[in-house]
Each structure stands twice: as structure tokens, then as C-alpha cells.
Subunit: 492 residues, 2 copies
């Protein structure tokens, strides 16, 4: 290299360092406004083994206030089969409003490696790619900024780096058997990475950075990030528009058309209850061993008998293998994240039964009617919820949804009974009376919900509960049928 | 059996069933008051394999409102060495105020099995027993009700049950290799269980129930539980009295006596910073491989330079292996639990570095001075914190605590600078000015904290930060020294 060339190179390097410094300061300057406006930001850093993801992330965060960002690393564990849906660790880690979450590799690496290892079939891979697109869109529509980076190096560069790491005792451990395997299969990996980016880059684009140029790629990443933030600060928080996708739906009757007269005698009830609970207990054993996750969703009118119904299901279950998750109004740290977050974080492990006492459908009922979210928000939710539930059933879960139904007269009688019975008074609140006044609006919302979200994979069941005994037996029968089918499907 | 005997037995059974029903109803009746008074309740169910822990728990919860209780199961994983302190899963699961948490086996089984397997030494076992006593006392002193049950069966009964399970294809899986091993080593297990109960039953007694008598033991458990609740509802929430235990303490100077003049030139700073950061980066590699957890605690005056100091430590670290946890005022779900809960849940995995930007010492500073807790609460905290930190260092963690120190003049100068510099204004709040007015009270509290909690295993370091450069270099040096020592100790 001539003296002049060296001089130019030195100048170029100094220029880049200055640019990097300026960009970092820009990001630092943006921190306060991001916090004030409550913008949540996701930076996904994917790329080749040894491409320098760690250093890139370090460059991004080095001047940031630690209260402002977090880094999450998801190690793919090839031995232990995951006990949760594949998006679970990423959904759990989404940032709260006003913060940045940096994913040190994430759903891309997860999908690509699993496919390459043949741990998932091509169909499962396709489902995962679809789920990734849904996940990203839902976050974007919920006001999240998402920056997706891929750090690229060619095979020669990777070889050099692997060698350099392995020559040094102190850094040798950084190259895993997995990384060596990737290096040997470099070509196939490149094809798969590119295909993945192709399939997931339409809505939220991928940015490929040159991993060989450390400072330049840090500058580019910071440039993209600060630009994205600038635009969002100018335009304000994005709210996605509703749209409808085709899901195979079951035809549901209007609530007004439901015959609420079915009832059981005490004797019929006792006899069937005993038999069905015994059967459910047996099935729970099988579910547990076959690692089938089960999600039972309860919604219903106040005083319809949700609690008693849930207890009859829970009674024969081994407490080690099930959980009831009561859903109250969201806490501040839950409100500060996309609305499905508090359900993602409550999902059961495989083989466990989770009973949700109220669910994510609050979005299209109470939140809709009380104005706790915008019209776009709840209208979008039908589709988002269908997607979410499809991700659960793709994972292998049995998802059943129960609307515990009574008529207005029955509710009034039960309210009065609660009011007049000291031990039951706590069950009745002012809010229950207020909700009762909005019965027609609720009925309209519930009818719409039942029409739009009773998918083949995660159907709704209307449970006639004017007679609680009938309601409990009907629910038990539905659960038992569904579990038997799921077990059969696993055996096939 | 004669006809009369049969008759007596039937009557006895009916009587027990009626008693069980009455007790369950009593507990149901207590629910509301427990909730209203915000009493948190822990029920620990330990016992022999096949003794019927699951059924007992089912009897306890069968009529309860699912919003009111939870069951947590901690499976002991003999293969995977835990990445957290052994109490971590139990501390994480403590209930919030007004709820019951039922532990389906817990810290007893964990301690006893680990000892029996020789996965921990006798000394480690002793430390764990001590930690269990500390953990239970801290919860009790924080107002938790704790009921500890042990389900007992003799070796013959266990043999029968294991056989019965194994004869049936559907239930065969319930008997693990571990259970068979326990059965073979029944005698040794009995001795160890009894010794454990002996060592941990003084403060909060153990209740041994006869696992052979299902209904009777459920009655007894419910009796104990409802009695305990009755008493607590009558007396009100318990607040533990402070007491002091001997910890080996380092002598700390009073803040007023600290010489704040040390300073570095820009050149000295740059040179040392580069060298020390390089070294810290190398050590981070080793820490990671040797799975040593590191916990760095930052406290200090407003504007003392905590943020900049933390960034200089974080700069050379691989973002995959460290985390900064900023501690703000507690959220509602955190306030509803024992005060150390929000720190237990933020502990790093082994091999990771966790930097706490403010810590559990808020209890004896801001919470003390602003009256956010009672005098007994903060006075008890010195001892509780020393115990907590000893549990961390017993686990193998390096725990270092930094008080970033400046004088009042320097703080005023920095406040004024922040006020006059638009980009820095956000760093200065009304609260900072208010806190400044309370400097003398804070100084007294801090002096007391430094005297009482600078233990040999988790020492405090006063970092003179009138010159921020000096402060950063001093902190880096302390961290490097401590990590080198910890690595050496592992090699020895």
C-alpha cells in the first residue's frame, strides 16, 4: 500500500469514527422523546456465526441509558425440545412502551436452524414463516417500531474468523459445533437465509449489513434506527388498520336464538358428573404423557356460573398438571405492552392444561364497549386473535372456547340471590349492575365475536347455563371429546 | 370384619366427609376477608413419593375460587445443574397479598434429594438449611402465613402403592426411577427427612400427616389452615421485629471523612481505561465459561455519575452475557409481595454479569426516609439483606456494592449544569431537588447502611466521584480484582 493510500485509509477511518459518534449522540438525544411518547422499539440482529452480532449490539448500546434498552439472547437448545410455542421467548421479551429491546438473534435463526436440522418439516417451517409475519405485523400495528438487521460475511471471512477464535485458548469456546456445521454447510445456509428474508421482508424489510466492515455497519445500523425513530416521532404512534383474512369458520347462532331450557335432574347430574370426571382424570394422564398442551377459555355473562363450571373441570385434574389463570384488568406493566403479551406470558407448558377465566376476548367486549382501546384496535383484534390461536393449535395445543350463557331474567334472579345472601355478597359489585344495563350492546359485541372467531381449529361453544348442572355436563363432554380426538390424532 | 365394625366404619367415613365439607366451606368463607386484609398464604406440601400430595392439594383447592390460589410444582432436574440459587424457584413463586400459593413439594425435597445424591456437600447442605430458615423467617416477618405439611407413609404402604401404579399401563409413568430409588433407600430417606424437619421446624413448625388416611389428613390440613387464618384475621398482619445477627463486617469510614480530592488527568484516564476495559473483556469470557454469576450493585447520590460509571463497565462486556437492571419505584404487583421479590426475580443466570442500577438498599434509604415502610421493616432489612447476599455468595456469586460518592457542592454544580443544558434537563427532576434538601438525613441513613451491611462476602466500596474519571478507573480496578480472585478460587 502506498503512503497516500494509507493516508486515505486513515482519513476514512477517522471520518467513520466521527460519524459513529455523531449517530450515537443522535440516538442519545432521541431517548427522552421516545420515552415521553412511549414508543416501543425492537431491533432484531440476525446473521452468520462469527459475523459480529455481539460487537454490533455493543456499538448500538454503548452510550445509551441502561434504563432505556435491554438485550435478549435466545439460545437454541437442540437437545431439549421446547415446551412452548416457538415464538414464545420472543413474544415474552417484547419491550414496554418507551424502551428498546435488542434481540441478539431471534426468530429467523430459530426457524432456519430447525429446518436445516430437519427438526421441523417443510410444512411446519411454512407455518412458522407465516407466524413470524403475523407476529411482526401485529407488533407494528400495535405501534412497535421494528428494525431487522442481517450481518453478512462470506465463507472465506467466516473461515478466517473461526480459525482466529480457535487458535486462542481464551476464545476457543466461542466457536460451537453448531457454528462449524454452519460453516461446512455455508451454501445451503445462505440459500435458506435468503429464502427466509425473501418470505418475511415484504412488510418489514430486512437490512443486510456487511459484517466485514465493523464501523461502517454500525453506522448503517444507527442510521437506519435513528431515521426510523425520527419518522415515528414526527408522525406519532402508528395504529394498524383492521382487515379480514379468511379463516375456516364455524357457523354460530345468534345468542338470542339459543334455547336456554335444557336442564338435568339432580340424579342425572350426579351420575354423569361422576362418570365424566373419572374419564377426564384418565385423559389428563395421557395428555400429560403425550405432552399435549390444552387451553380452555371461559367467557360468559356475570353470574352465568363460570366459576362453578371451572371447578367441575378442575376437580379430577392432577394439580401438578393444570392451572387456572384468572384474568383481571391489566396492570400497568401489562398495559405498557402489546395487548396479547399478558396471554403469551401465561401460556401452559406442553402436557399441561390451562384454564383461562376470562381471556384475550376482553379486547372485543369490555375494551371495545368501554373505549379502553381505539376502534381500529378492537376491529383488528378478530384477525389478530385468530392468528394467535392458529399459532397455538399449530404448536399442537387443543384450544376450546366456552361462552357460558344465561338470559337476563336468570341473571337478575342470581344477582338478587347474591345481594340477599351474606356469604355471596362479595360476588356482586356495582360494576356487575352497570354491565347489566349494557346487555344489548354486549350482546351485539358477543354475537360479532362468535361469528368472527369460531375457527375450525379453535371453536366456540355456547354453553346453556340457565341450568348450571346441564352446563357443567355439556362442558365436560366437549372437553372429553376434544381430548380424545387429540390423543387419537397423536397416535395416528 | 363384623357387621357392626363395618357399620362403625361407614359412619366414621360419613362423619369425616361431613367434616371435610364443613372445613372447605369455612375456608371458602375466609377467602373474602383474606383478600380484603391482603394476607398472603403459603402452604408447603412435602412428603414421600406416592404419599398422595396431589390428592391432598386437590382436596384443599376443590371449592376455592381460582382467582384466590395457585399451585406451583418444582420438578428437580437431576441432569441439568441449576443456573440459579436453589431458593430461586420458590422465591419467585411467593404469592401476592390476599392469595394462597400451594407448593407441590419444594425446598425440603430439593435439599434432601440433593444431599442424598451427593450433589451437594454436607457443608453446602448446612448452608441450605440455614438459608431455608432465613427465607421462611423473612416471609413470616413480612406478614406471610406459612403452613408446612409432610405426608408420611411407611415403607410397606409405599411398596403397595408403587406396585399398584406400575401394574396399570395408564399410571405406570407416575413412578419414576427416582421414586424407586427412594423406596430402596427408604430408611436413609426417613432419617434425612426427619433431620431436615428437626433443623427447620423451630420457627415455623412442621405438621406430619398420615398419608395412609386420605380424608383424615385432608381434614387435618384444612383444620390447621383455617385455624391459622382465623388467628391472623383476628390479630392482623404480623410485622417482624428487628434483630441483629453477627456477620463478619468490614469497617467503613463515615461519608464525611472520605477524601474526595483524588483525580486523574485525561491522559492517565484514557490510558488506564483502555487497558482495564481490555482486561475486563477477557475476564468476562472466563466468567462465562466457568459459570460464575456476578452481581454489581450501584447506589449513589443523584448526579454522582452512576450512569456513566456503569457504561464504562458495560462497554467491554459481551451483551450476551450481561444485563443492566434499572430499579425504579416498585409497581403494584411488586408492592404486593415481600420487598426482596423484585430482586429475586431479576437475578442473573450463572456465568452472567448483572448490574443493578439502584438496588434492594432502597429499603434502608428512600423507603426509610419517605416512610414507605414501617420502622420495624427497615430496621429488620439490614439483617435480611445480609442474609440474602450471603445466599447469593453461597451460590457462588461475586457480589460487589458501590456507593458513588460526591459532596454537596459538586452535586449543586452538576444540577445547575443540567438545568442550563437543554439536552441534560431531563436528567434533573423536582425530586432530585427535594432529595437534596434531605442530604443530612440521607447521609445518616447511608452511614448506617455502610456500617451494617459491608460484609466480607459482599462488601461496599465508596467510590470518590467528584472526579468521574477517577471513579470509573477505581471501580474497574475493583471489579477486575474481584473477578480474578473468584476465577483463581474456582481453579484451586
Amino acid at each position: 500500500m502506498s503512503k497516500e493510500d494509507k493516508e486515505t485509509k486513515r482519513e476514512e477511518k477517522a471520518r467513520q469514527k466521527a460519524e459513529l459518534k455523531a449517530l450515537r449522540e443522535k440516538l442519545m438525544g432521541q431517548q427522552q422523546e421516545i420515552r415521553a411518547k412511549g414508543l416501543p422499539i425492537i431491533v432484531l440482529v440476525e446473521g452468520w456465526a462469527t459475523a459480529g452480532k455481539g460487537s454490533l449490539i455493543n456499538e448500538l448500546i454503548s452510550e445509551l441509558d441502561p434504563r432505556f434498552y435491554n438485550v435478549t439472547t435466545h439460545r437454541i437448545d437442540p437437545e431439549a425440545e421446547s415446551r412452548y410455542p416457538f415464538l414464545y421467548p420472543y413474544a415474552r421479551a417484547i419491550p414496554e412502551n418507551g424502551k428498546i429491546m435488542i434481540y441478539d438473534a431471534g426468530w429467523m435463526e430459530d426457524c432456519v436452524r430447525k429446518l436445516m436440522r430437519r427438526e421441523i418439516t417443510k410444512d411446519e417451517y411454512k407455518n412458522r414463516v407465516r407466524a413470524v409475519n403475523e407476529f411482526e405485523r401485529q407488533l407494528r400495528d400495535g405501534g412497535y417500531l421494528i428494525l431487522k438487521l442481517f450481518l453478512d460475511i462470506d465463507q472465506d471471512e467466516q473461515r478466517k474468523r473461526i480459525r482466529a477464535f480457535r487458535e486462542n485458548f481464551e476464545t476457543e469456546w466461542r466457536v460451537s459445533a453448531d457454528d462449524l456445521w454452519q460453516h461446512r454447510e455455508y451454501k445451503l445456509f445462505r440459500e435458506t437465509y435468503e429464502a427466509f428474508m425473501d418470505k418475511t421482508g415484504k412488510l418489514i424489510p430486512w437490512h443486510v449489513l456487511d459484517g466485514g466492515k465493523k464501523t461502517a455497519s454500525a453506522c448503517e445500523a444507527l442510521c437506519l434506527l435513528t431515521d426510523m425513530i425520527d419518522k415515528a416521532l414526527e408522525k406519532g404512534r402508528y395504529v394498524g388498520k383492521p382487515f379480514e383474512e379468511d379463516f375456516p369458520l364455524r357457523k354460530m347462532p345468534k345468542l338470542a336464538a339459543v334455547d336456554l331450557s335444557p336442564a338435568l335432574t339432580d340424579e342425572e347430574y350426579r351420575e354423569q358428573l361422576k362418570k365424566l370426571q373419572k374419564r377426564l382424570g384418565e385423559l389428563h394422564n395421557v395428555i400429560y404423557r403425550k405432552k399435549i398442551p390444552v387451553i380452555l377459555c371461559y367467557e360468559g355473562w356475570d353470574a352465568a356460573g363460570k366459576g362453578g363450571n371451572i371447578r367441575r373441570i378442575a376437580r379430577p385434574l392432577d394439580p401438578r398438571g393444570f392451572d387456572v389463570k384468572p384474568i383481571a384488568s391489566p396492570e400497568p406493566h401489562e398495559l405498557a405492552r402489546q395487548y396479547l403479551w399478558r396471554f403469551w406470558t401465561r401460556l401452559p407448558r406442553t402436557g399441561h392444561i390451562c384454564i383461562f377465566d376470562r381471556t384475550w376476548y376482553g379486547r372485543v367486549m369490555v375494551e371495545r364497549l368501554e373505549g379502553f382501546c381505539s376502534e381500529d384496535d378492537w376491529k383488528r383484534a378478530y384477525n389478530e386473535i385468530n392468528e394467535f390461536e392458529r399459532q397455538l393449535t399449530d404448536w399442537g395445543a387443543v384450544v376450546l372456547k366456552f361462552w357460558i350463557h344465561i338470559d337476563q331474567d336468570t341473571q337478575l334472579a342470581r344477582f338478587n340471590d347474591r345481594q340477599n345472601t351474606p356469604e355471596k355478597q362479595w360476588k356482586l359489585t356495582e360494576e356487575d349492575w352497570r354491565n347489566r344495563e349494557k346487555w344489548p350492546q354486549y350482546e351485539e359485541a358477543i354475537d360479532e365475536m362468535l361469528q368472527k372467531t369460531s375457527t375450525e381449529n379453535a371453536p366456540w361453544f355456547i354453553i346453556e347455563s340457565n341450568d348450571k348442572k346441564y352446563a357443567r355436563i355439556k362442558t365436560l363432554n366437549i372437553v372429553i371429546d376434544a381430548l380424545e380426538k387429540a390423543i387419537e390424532a397423536r397416535l395416528a
